[in-house]
């Protein structure tokens, strides 16, 4: 006779542990257990059969794998926790004795990461364990970056020490610097939540979210201890990842950090990237700040200027009227004043000139030949990062935006693009303004434009980056209503709604027909409304008759009359209708109208009827096939259909909204 098997001794019951049991086994407190779980990446499991696993009657229990917990038993961190606990005990005991000096001594030994931002332990081994290869670490970087960027923008509180924030900020900056140097940034997206960035490092796509530079509101009950635990881990992770990334491209890590510049809000400019080789120190030090690189920049500058002049001359010779046209389209610049008007050939010329072959897919080249100037109202940090990551060397901004700009002088002649995010205000025209010689020397008023410079809204940068080509700046001119900013991360699936495609390309046959019929019906009714009242009467009649015929059809279908009949039935009905309409028209003494108009509509209607018939047949076929499925498969099938239908319903809604919108636009245009 075999041994009697007891419940909870073998099988699943052995494989799982409840949280309480796990905590007991590890002999630590629940917060410590939480920390350990977060760092070691241990998460609860859902057993296949909860009843077999749980020994208690309560339904909601968290289960962990027994193996996971056993693996925690040998964790060196466990000892650190215990030591810490002992130390705390000592402190409290000393305080209880009233022995303040002792307590102070113990307190000195106690690590207070919530104050110093630095614990006594390191998480290096945990990171190595969790991510055996570097690529594994990169794969998991999404949450890490989002979290650190968020913390870098948080206000410091008692729960979030300032040191932690500073470290987060530095790590993030260092990572950004890496992306700038390696040109790893691929896409970016301005969302209502913040700015999404996507970078590609060693073939891994990393997507993270950076909040807008505002004070973050903290709502609801948020446990910053939990977040802090995550951040602690992520900081260590990003530190090592940065080290590897930097050394991978021959840079020294950590980069030189200039505290004074940072205090002046230089942000990215506070770091000086150095090569590993000390011999080539001079060259290797890449000053990210372009203040130092002025000689270089100015070296380039005259060339650009010369090229601009050349093109301008050419253009002047060639066709000034063409340029005029282009200029007229650009924005309302032509309305500004004469002095600006004179330079109009320059503006588009300057625009056309530096544009490289727009097909260049190299992200390092996209903005490499431009000099940008950021207006006061634009978000400097994301723009600076994204422009630099896509090859721009010289970015200037207003003094207000902080240290580290290439130039703070808006009138710098080397500026090719200015990013503006303010509404257009009609400036007061200065009559004595002489266009020719006041090009750059004169201080322009707030809303005046420098000729030879392209003015764009910030979205231009993002759209250009996402499409990997320079978008035409006319669409993004200041004050213009912007084209929709689309997410570059959406992978369109077959049959899914895609806002980039025209509506006709993706709507179903039925929708198209419905829409057209709707249109024409509307148009017709509009026509008829112009006519006499009888017309409307007639129209109503037609409508009702139509309804009748449909009812009949339905009846027929119910009655089981063959599908073959239906079509003919419908036709008959419509023929009858027509006859009736004719009769009525005769009685009322009106000419038989709207027949010609109807012809088109009729064909459409019949087409719709055909379509309906077809869909009905298909539905029947489906029904037949479905009946032959086994129960399991049928359930699965129905589930899949449900989700598909839901999605398609959403798409349908979007399409109908778009149609409506387009119609409105057409109307407003007309």
């Amino acid at each position: 006779m075999g041994k009697i098997k007891r419940k909870g001794q073998t099988g699943q019951a052995k494989n799982y542990l409840t949280r309480t049991a796990a905590v007991k086994k590890l002999q630590i407190s629940l917060p410590d257990f939480r920390k350990l779980c977060i760092w070691k990446g241990i998460y609860p499991r859902e057993p296949r059969n909860k009843k077999k696993v749980s020994k208690s009657a309560t339904a909601s229990t968290t289960f962990y794998y027994t193996k996971d917990i056993q693996y925690l038993l040998h964790e060196p961190l466990l000892n650190k926790f215990r030591e810490q606990k002992v130390l705390e005990k000592k402190i409290s005991r000393a305080l209880g004795r009233g022995d303040l000096s002792d307590a102070a001594r113990f307190e000195r030994d106690a690590a207070r990461p919530d104050k110093t931002g630095k614990p006594r332990y390191t998480l290096n081994h945990v990171i190595r364990e969790r991510y055996p290869t570097f690529v594994d670490a990169l794969r998991d970087l999404d949450d890490c970056l989002s979290m650190l960027f968020l913390f870098a923008n948080l206000p410091s509180t008692s729960a979030v020490p300032a040191k932690m924030i500073a470290r987060c900020e530095r790590l993030c900056m260092e990572f950004q610097h890496y992306l700038i140097v390696s040109h790893g940034l691929r896409k970016s997206f301005l969302s209502i939540k913040g700015i999404y960035y996507q970078a590609s490092i060693q073939g891994e796509d990393i997507l993270w979210l950076v909040p807008y530079k505002f004070n973050q509101r903290i709502v609801g009950d948020i446990d910053f201890r939990i977040m802090g635990t995550f951040v602690e881990f992520y900081m260590t992770l990003l530190g090592f990842v940065n080290y590897r990334l930097y050394t991978g491209i021959g840079l020294k890590y950590p980069p030189k950090f200039d505290q004074t510049k940072d205090d002046m809000a230089a942000e990215l400019g506070a770091f000086a990237i150095e090569g590993v080789n000390m011999a080539t120190d001079e060259d290797a030090t890449k000053a990210i700040t372009n203040g130092e690189a002025t000689t270089k920049a100015h070296g380039v500058d005259p060339k650009v200027q010369a090229a601009v002049d050349k093109i301008v001359r050419q253009l002047k010779q060639d066709d000034s009227d063409k340029a005029d046209e282009a200029a007229a389209e650009v924005d309302d610049e032509d309305k500004i004043d004469d002095s600006i008007d004179k330079f109009e050939p320059v503006a588009p010329g300057g625009d056309i000139l530096p544009q490289p072959s727009s097909g260049s897919s190299d992200p390092a080249e996209l903005f490499s030949n431009f000099t940008f100037y950021l207006s006061r109202e634009t978000p400097r940090q994301p723009l600076e990062f994204i422009l630099r990551a896509f090859g721009c060397k010289r970015i200037g901004w207003d003094n207000v935006l902080g240290e580290g700009s290439f130039t703070t002088d808006e009138s710098d002649p080397s500026i090719t693009h200015q990013i503006v995010d303010r509404p257009v205000v009609q400036p007061v025209v200065d009559p004595e303004d002489d266009g020719e010689d006041n090009q750059t020397s004169q201080k322009l008023t707030a809303n005046q434009r420098y000729p030879g410079r392209t003015y764009v809204q910030p979205q231009w940068v993002w759209d250009s980056v996402n499409d990997e080509e320079l978008k035409s700046p006319e669409l993004y001119a200041p004050g213009a209503s912007l084209p929709p900013h689309l997410s570059p991360f959406v992978q369109t699936k077959q049959g899914q709604y895609d806002p980039t495609l025209p509506l006709d390309a993706q709507e179903t046959e039925k929708e198209a027909l419905d829409a057209e019929i709707g249109d024409e019906g509307e148009a017709q009714s509009g026509d008829e409304e112009d006519e006499e009242e009888d017309g409307s009467d007639n129209d109503m009649d037609v409508g009702s008759a139509n309804d009748d015929s449909e009812e009949e059809e339905a009846d027929d279908a119910e009655g089981g009359s063959g599908d073959e009949e239906e079509g003919s039935d419908g036709e008959e009905a419509s023929a009858a209708l027509q006859r009736q309409a004719e009769l009525e028209a005769e009685i009322s003494g009106k000419p038989v109208k709207s027949k010609q108009v109807d012809a088109k509509l009729k064909s459409k209607l019949s087409a719709r009827k055909e379509l309906e018939k077809k869909t009905k047949e298909e539905a029947e076929d489906l029904e037949r096939a479905k009946g032959m499925l086994s129960k399991k498969k049928r359930k699965l099938f129905e589930q899949m259909q449900y989700t598909n239908n839901k999605k398609s319903a959403e798409d349908l809604k979007l399409r109908s909204k778009r149609r409506k919108h387009e119609k409105e636009q057409a109307k407003s245009k007309a």
Binding site: Y43, Q216, G220, F489, G559, G560, K626, G627
Partner: protein
């Protein structure tokens, strides 16, 4: 004790002074006592004088002691006492040598220190005086005259002149007591240290010395009595630092003395290593150290220097990434993504936890107008919670086209002919039509319904040609034609009665009519005989009788009355037998009637479960009975159970046997249609579910077409193509071809019965809406 302490104290400061001195001083007192004793012993009158001397002596001693106490280094006092002691010692010798001429002794003594005596031979014999070994220096036991009387009160000697004996057995004389006046004076003028006690050893009054008084005082004061002794004496050097000229050992110096120590080198190396590794740091004040620690950068190195790709643990489920933002999350989304007013209101109304999306798409016409998103921290926090608290489950999502799950069915148009449309609607019944049957020739349809009538209709035109009302209150539950063409007999069941009738009809020739009548009448004679043969005690299973003149005129010729309401009639293929089933009839629920003998038999004494329906096998002598759950097949010849089919349905409503005899379809009230292959298994070969309501009837086509149909309460009839191949190994093909819709659902009842045309692909169905429809 006190004098010994004094000793020590004396010793301590003057280490260099020769030892015997102090001892001598001590002896000094002792000898004094002895002297006085001897004096008192010899001359009593001198006692007072000697007493005085003694006193003065003792006083002097006391003062000398005092001096010693006060200035330890000053020893001049001791020296004269020493001399005194020597002289006294001389006296002592004098006393202890009786019998010797003192003068001679003195003279000799002065000369040589020995005496000359005459020995036995007359020669001179030098007698040296005894050497005093001065044991006292070492012998602490050799104290002065000790009173040896032991522990007895001194009062015992009150009447004697002595107070005890010394160690030599000599009497210790009582010291002279002063006269009363002296005593009085003494008691008035209490000398220092007076105790009023008598020293037991000497008999003198016992006075305390100054030291002892001081000690007593300190004890009384609760002070440490040890003021007298020095708690921190200087070390006594037992060994001098002077190097000896001669070594203790002549062994040569060992080699190790000249080699550097290995052990020390080891210890030093340990320290060096610790310093190099930074384990030992130069001392810094804690504040500075703390500050430094805080400033210290985190150490970074290449963590993945020798990375090795590991197989991911199969049980490990990586956290799913957050989905990338869609179009609707843009700050400037396309117009169509913006919610309408209703949608926004609905979103705002729903609970934040139930919202499908945590945000509402919004449009800002410039980037500078975009505000911070309120829920960012919260959503990040929720993500954190998910990461460590949410159980992860791997769910296999089938990413396939759902249509690929569907079986490939041949197009129905390839499987024609089958009925598709309503050809004729037979109207006339009041209430439900419960049963319908097409006659073997295929020209007429018989039907029975709730109104208690049996009607016969022309099949194609739908004209009613015959009708009879069998019962006024009972519905007609079943009508079935006798399946042979040589007769025109219809069986109908109403209540407990089964009627056999011959409808009059234009196509019924007189010969056919007569033949039918003969068949029905044939049993009457037999029946009477048979009844006579039957056991008289038992009630017959059924009564065969003529229904009465009215019905007979109409063409109803026989009435068979069974015990309970009959629901089902099924004929044997030859037409001689038919079976009726009355589910409520307990033991007699299934009955087999023999037409030629007008006989009714009840084949089952006991049935497991309620009998639902029964049928004869189309080819072999087998009989099938369906109970709620199972279908049992009995051999009629051997009278035994052959097979039990278990379709798995909860409640079987009806079944039909394929004309080939090897397949069975079963309809059940739980909406399922089951195809059984009798040879294959007792379990269904195929289960189909086409109806949303219970299936009432299932029926095969019997005219050679591979068709079957079921009728359901949802008002539909489903036509199937069901081909049974001639090859045994092949599976039958079942294809649903058409769903016939037309009957209305009345009181949750749709189509109640169904029958196929014997040759054509037509079928008729009886509906709860009171109509019969011919489908073709």
């Amino acid at each position: 004790m006190a004098p010994r302490m004094v000793d020590k104290k004396r010793k301590a400061p003057a280490a260099a002074t020769p030892e015997p001195q102090s001892d001598d001083e001590f002896q000094d007192g002792v000898f004094e006592g002895a002297l006085s004793q001897s004096e008192s012993d010899d001359e009593d009158f001198e006692i007072a004088v000697s007493d005085d001397d003694d006193e003065s002596e003792s006083d002097g001693e006391g003062s000398g002691d005092d001096n010693g106490d006060e200035d330890d280094g000053f020893l001049s006092d001791d020296i004269p006492s020493d001399d005194e002691a020597i002289s006294k010692g001389m006296k002592d010798v004098e006393i202890t040598e009786p019998g010797v001429d003192p003068k001679v002794e003195e003279k000799e003594d002065e000369n040589l220190g020995y005496k000359t005596e005459k020995d036995a031979n007359g020669g001179i014999r030098y007698v040296y005086e005894e050497i005093d070994p001065v044991y006292d220096s070492d012998d602490s036991d050799a104290q002065g005259p000790e009173n040896t009387i032991g522990d007895i009160p001194l009062s015992f000697y009150d009447s004697y002149p002595h107070i005890g004996y010394d160690i030599n057995g000599k009497k210790i004389m009582r010291p002279a007591a002063g006269d009363a006046l002296q005593n009085l004076l003494d008691s008035i003028e209490v000398p220092k240290g007076w105790t009023g006690l008598t020293d037991i050893n000497t008999g003198n009054p016992l006075n305390l010395t100054d030291e002892e008084l001081e000690l007593v005082r300190r004890v009384q004061m609760g002070l440490v009595p040890g003021d007298l002794h020095d708690p921190y004496p200087d070390t006594v050097e037992y060994f001098t630092g002077i190097e000896e000229k001669m070594p203790l050992s002549s062994a040569p110096e060992p080699k190790r003395r000249f080699l550097p120590s290995k052990n020390e080198a080891k210890q030093i190396m340990k320290l060096v290593r610790a310093i190099r590794e930074g384990r030992i740091l130069p001392y810094k004040p804690p504040e500075e150290r703390q500050r430094e620690e805080e400033e210290q950068e985190e150490v970074h190195f290449d963590l993945w220097q020798n990375e090795e790709a590991q197989e991911p643990n199969p049980m490990h489920i990586p956290a799913p990434k957050l989905p990338p933002p869609g179009y609707d999350l843009s700050y400037n989304p396309p117009q169509e993504y913006l919610p309408t007013k209703e949608e926004r209101e609905e979103w705002e109304k729903t609970d934040p936890e139930e919202r499908e999306k945590e945000y509402v798409p919004q449009k800002y016409d410039a980037l500078r107008k975009v505000p911070a998103w309120d829920d960012l921290v919260k959503s990040r926090f929720e993500r954190c919670m998910d990461l460590y608290l949410a159980p992860r489950v791997r769910k296999n999502r089938l990413n396939i086209d759902p249509n690929s799950l569907l079986p490939k069915l041949p197009s129905p148009s390839e499987l024609k002919p089958f009925p598709t449309v309503t050809q004729t609607i037979f109207r006339g019944h009041v209430g439900r039509v419960r049963s319908v049957a097409i006659d073997p020739s295929g020209t007429t349809v018989a039907s029975g319904g709730d109104d208690g009538t049996v009607r016969v209709w022309e099949l194609l035109t739908g004209r009613q040609i015959w009708s009879v009302k069998l019962s006024s209150d009972e519905p007609v539950n079943a009508v079935r034609w006798r399946p042979t063409k040589d007769s025109f007999i219809l069986a109908a069941a109403a209540g407990e009665d089964v009627f056999l009738m011959i409808p009059s009809h234009a196509s019924v020739t007189p010969t056919l009519d007569q033949a039918s009548r003969d068949i029905l009448a044939a049993g009457f004679g037999y029946a009477t005989n048979g009844q006579q043969h039957g056991e008289p005690g038992k009630e017959p299973a059924a009564k065969w009788a003529r229904p009465g003149a009215r019905l007979e005129d109409e063409g109803v010729l026989i009435r068979i009355t069974v015990r309970s309401q009959v629901k089902v009639i099924n004929w044997h293929r030859r037409g001689d037998h038919f079976t009726t089933v009355s589910p409520s009839g307990q033991r007699s629920s299934v009955a087999i009637h023999t037409l030629s003998k007008h006989m009714t038999q009840i084949p089952f004494r006991k049935l497991s479960g309620l009998a639902q329906t029964a049928a004869f096998h189309p080819l072999r002598p087998l009989f099938f009975v369906a109970t709620q759950r199972t279908i049992r097949c009995y051999d009629l010849q051997k009278l035994e159970l052959v097979k039990v089919c278990q379709p798995g349905a909860k409640w079987i409503s009806s079944f039909d046997i394929h004309p080939g005899g090897d397949n069975l379809i079963v309809g059940s009230y739980d909406k399922r249609l089951l195809w059984h292959d009798l040879d294959l298994s007792t379990r269904p070969y195929k289960t189909m579910r086409f109806h949303s309501e219970a299936i009432r009837t299932v029926r095969y086509h019997r005219g050679g077409l591979p068709l079957f149909a079921d009728a359901s309460d949802d008002g539909t009839v489903q036509i199937f193509h069901g081909k049974v191949p001639s090859d045994q190994l092949e599976n039958p093909t079942i294809v649903p071809v058409k769903m016939l819709k037309g009957h209305k659902v009345v009181n949750k009842l749709g189509v109640l019965d169904l029958d196929w045309h014997p040759r054509e692909p037509w079928c008729v169905s009886a509906g709860a809406d009171g109509t019969i429809r011919l489908w073709m």
